[in-house]
């Protein structure tokens, strides 16, 4: 007798449905595992690090990997493994701050532009256009150079170049939702504009923005590393991946381990966020979901 397919419970909640699909998506799974590892490392770095990242030991410079130092030491005899762990913390702090700032500004301004239109839209979107006219990284370098170095500068510079993308995406999503009958129905029942924006529009545009944000983390970390590499980002003695790669580059022929392992950490982190972002897009975007 043929097996009759069992029809699952019809009232399967949205959450469990999402969880099921998430487990089936290879990208999302690998991405989330990598991202989780990086997050755990970043949060617990001071406890996980075997050495003090600032501790200079001139008797043990450029030690190769293995032995006392798992990933060797750098030009000042500092433990590379410990510095990579702390570097993850720096990168993710910058990425998290930039994300929080750009999402707040970008989503708020994008929603105002898309929903109210008029002069507010003109001002917001023209500003966006102006910022878009510059190559992202060049503008970030320019801002960082003007403001001087430091963590705050990096966060401000990257936020400045990244919010317009979020604002533009949000506006376009709101513009199409604005035509939906349920928005008219809410207006017709006397709902306040801010309530329509927060309760009706925001939940409907959340998933594409989450996808954009998770893919964006990769870009932000890369950009932060670039600024540090160029020496205009977060400064010594705080270890940054960009700075460590630059230091390692100088000794690439003789002692490649510093540049190699730091680049590897950077690559794993960026790949992790990109896979997670791709996976989330596959899961959340109905257009590509069932392919």
């Amino acid at each position: 007798m043929r097996q009759v397919p069992v029809i699952g419970p019809i009232r399967r909640g949205l959450q469990s449905d999402f969880a099921l699909r998430f487990r089936r998506s290879r990208n999302a799974m690998i991405g989330s595992v990598l991202v989780s590892i990086v997050l755990v490392v970043a949060i617990f770095a001071p406890w996980l690090a075997p050495y003090d990242y600032e501790q200079i030991n001139m008797l043990a410079i450029w030690r190769p990997p293995g032995g006392e130092h798992l990933l060797g030491t750098d030009a000042l005899g500092r433990d590379v493994f410990s510095r990579i762990l702390i570097g993850a913390r720096v990168s993710l702090t910058v990425a998290g701050s930039v994300l929080a700032i750009t999402l707040t500004i970008g989503v708020t301004l994008g929603m105002i532009a898309g929903y109210f239109g008029g002069w507010a839209e003109t001002i917001i979107m023209r500003t966006v256009d102006i910022i878009f006219a510059f190559p992202e990284l060049i503008l970030a370098i320019l801002v960082a150079a003007v403001l001087g170095t430091g963590t705050t500068t990096v966060i401000i510079a990257l936020s400045l170049v990244w919010w317009p993308g979020i604002a533009r995406l949000t506006r376009s999503l709101v513009l199409s939702l604005r035509e939906e009958m349920f928005v008219d129905a809410a207006i017709a029942s006397g709902t306040r504009s801010w309530r329509i924006l927060l309760r009706h529009l925001l939940p409907n545009i959340a998933s594409p923005i989450i996808v954009r944000a998770s893919v964006g983390v990769g870009f932000i970390i890369m950009a932060e590393a670039t600024l540090s590499f160029l020496g205009i980002g977060v400064q010594e003695p705080t270890p940054t991946w960009g700075g460590m790669i630059r230091d390692g580059l100088a000794a690439l022929r003789t002692d490649p381990h510093l540049a190699l392992f730091t680049s590897l950490a950077l690559a794993i982190t960026i790949i992790g966020f990109n896979l997670l972002g791709d996976g989330l897009r596959d899961l959340l975007d109905p257009k590509v979901r069932d392919q």
Binding site: F182, D184, A185, A186, A188, S189, G190, R195, H200, N204
Partner: protein
């Protein structure tokens, strides 16, 4: 009946849309009244201005449109020139609206209880728990079985008829004095349509709520309306009680509309369609706006602008030959 104060009194309403090159008079000199607890049908083809009339009353005209002249009195308040805030507070509380598309009129990310309750939170500052309890009560009142459980459903879990019931529950939440129903049953099956119309009528009886029923479906009007306003090309062309309009239509347009209803009894080989189509607002004809499609048009119709004028028994028409036509039908019967 005539001594009652009207709930809604639209008087000489002219609405203009500003496009890049023109100012289009989409509504011209529209007048209509709705008394408390009365069901008035607003009939017309697409583009006749019936939805714009409803939007004007609700204060929901798009930014490019504006009331050029005329007044809208609602329950003692003049609505034209009312502030945005005052208008918003009135919407949902004193007047509510339901729409044609129950499939898209609900937000897919919220439970129906949240959406019904939101009106109460907004207008009466109800707590979420109170709003939910009241939402369940309202859902039961509009005939949704097992309301307590259904209240936690999302819109996609409900059928079209159920969603329209939810929309009605939402509209009823604050017990408005006036319900504007814009083609409320057009998207529904005929059997569901009858249920929804029954529901609306019983809610009217229960709460003495007036209904302005906007539709192109004369069948719905015949079932529901006590009085009928017929619109054509942005103007009211005829107004009267349902009996007057259906038994002895005074305006040729109304006559043609009624004749175009397919009937099982009088089978004709072809459906009686009205030739031509409604003129658009930038090309309204001279004289009577209906004359290019009117089988009875004569020279006078082509040159003379027609005004809405009173006829016996409290009805009115925008055709100068209406009195003549009515007398003919009386003589014939």
């Amino acid at each position: 009946m005539s001594v009652r104060e009207p709930l809604l009194q639209v008087d000489g309403l002219t609405v203009e849309f500003a496009t890049l090159r023109h100012r289009l008079k989409v509504l011209e000199d529209v007048s209509l009244t709705v008394h408390p607890g009365e069901i008035v049908g607003l009939v017309g083809e697409s583009g006749s201005g019936k939805s714009v009339t409803a939007m004007s009353v609700m204060g929901l005209l798009p930014d490019i449109a504006g009331v050029a002249s005329g007044s809208i009195g609602f329950d003692g308040t003049e609505l034209t020139g009312l502030s945005r805030k005052a208008m918003r507070e009135m919407r949902g509380r004193d007047m509510a609206m339901i729409f044609q598309e129950p499939m898209t009129s609900l937000n897919p990310v919220h439970t129906v209880s949240f959406q019904i309750g939101e009106v109460l939170v907004e207008h009466f500052g109800a707590s979420p728990a109170q709003a939910h309890a009241k939402a369940v009560e309202l859902m039961a009142a509009v005939g949704i079985p097992d309301a307590a459980r259904r209240a936690l459903d999302y819109p996609h879990q409900l059928s079209g008829g159920m969603r329209q019931r939810v929309m009605i529950a939402m509209a009823m939440a604050c017990q408005p004095k006036l319900l504007l129903a814009d083609e409320p049953t057009t998207a529904l099956d005929v059997t569901i349509q009858a249920q929804i119309l029954d529901l609306m009528r019983s809610l009217r009886d229960q709460f003495n709520m007036a209904i302005l029923m906007i539709t192109h479906d004369l069948g719905v009007i015949a079932q529901m309306a006590e009085r009928v306003v017929v619109m054509y090309a942005g103007q009211v062309v005829e107004e009267g009680t349902a009996a007057q309009i259906f038994d002895r239509p005074a305006h040729p347009y109304t006559r043609l509309l009624i004749r175009s209803i397919p009937s099982a009894r009088h089978k004709s080989a072809r459906l009686d369609a009205i030739p031509g189509s409604t003129p658009s607002a930038h090309a309204f004809p001279q004289g009577c706006r209906f004359h290019p499609r009117c089988p009875e048009a004569v020279d006078r119709c082509r040159t003379e602008t027609q005004a809405l004028h009173g006829l016996p028994e409290g009805r009115s028409s925008r055709c100068w030959r209406s009195l003549e036509a009515l007398q003919d039908t009386v003589a014939a019967s």
